[in-house]
Symmetry: C2
């Protein structure tokens, strides 16, 4: 029996639940005994999130790669270098044979801003990714070319957000 082809899954849109859904996949895969790696391209200032704590407890590989991407153009040079380093780490994880599922959390941003070349990424995922490795990419504004190549794409739409009502994000729920 040949190994089923790994899926390329994208969670995008401006609503809550993209990273959260990726975490749910992590939990489901872990429950099945699959080997999971999470690469986080965007570093949050709140430090160790609930998910990082959970991953540690579960023995899931978790790497925070981002610098806390800054959106201003004058940060472009550093963002570019760091994004490309992070993408090389992602490639290494995907082709290592150590993982069945690799999550590239918030990876749409470096693609959208051109810090990592999207054509290079898509060509590599199509031709160099070992068969059977599932890849999940999250983040707003997934580029069209990524959506075209993906097997499963869900857009999370914000219908109502607690920050709209002035409620602060709550520990263990939102982060």
């Amino acid at each position: 029996m040949t190994k089923p082809q790994g899926l390329l899954i994208v969670y995008t849109g401006d609503g809550k639940g993209k990273t959260t859904a990726a975490l749910g996949m992590v939990l489901r895969a872990w429950g099945r005994g699959m080997r999971v790696c999470v690469l986080q391209f965007l570093k949050d200032e709140r430090g160790r999130w609930g998910e990082v704590l959970a991953a540690e407890k579960l023995g899931i590989a978790w790497h925070t790669l981002g610098t806390g991407f800054v959106w201003e153009p004058d940060q472009d040079a550093e963002a570019r270098v760091r994004s490309q380093e992070a993408w090389r780490l992602a490639q290494a994880a995907i082709e290592s044979g150590d993982y069945d599922l690799v999550v590239l959390d918030e990876f749409t941003y470096p693609l959208r801003f051109g810090w990592v070349d999207i054509n290079e990424v898509l060509t590599w995922l199509a031709h160099e990714r070992p068969s059977g490795v599932h890849v999940v990419i999250t983040g707003r504004q997934a580029p069209d070319a990524l959506i075209d190549q993906a097997d499963l794409v869900t857009e999370m739409r914000n219908i109502k957000h607690p920050f709209d009502a002035g409620l602060a994000g709550q520990k263990g729920i939102e982060y």
Copy 2:
């Protein structure tokens, strides 16, 4: 310090990722040491999913309550009785003091079909739910009244689904 008010969170829409996002919240909350209960209103024929296996390993309370809801009108009477039993179990879990986060997975269906009275549910959640207990409700077609009352609502929109391309759901990824 007063305990922060528990949030009412809804994941709806026809795209993939609703239950998956709820699972991600479960993992995040568990990572923070919160006490979690999942009540599954819709039973799947595939039996023990990755998430059920994971919950067992993590010591998370997990109850499958549904009968595999049937959509035909002639099943209405049984669906109504079972839905109301399930809702009473949900109430018991929420008010028990044993949990910080209670997930009502696929609970929109009994609400949408009127098997459980939505006004009764919303009134109870607003007035009888202990402060500090977060409730997550998933499922398609969340009723407007539920959306109105919720603190956070995300709609998952299906942009592309692997079944569209004839790929079967894969163990550990989709279930």
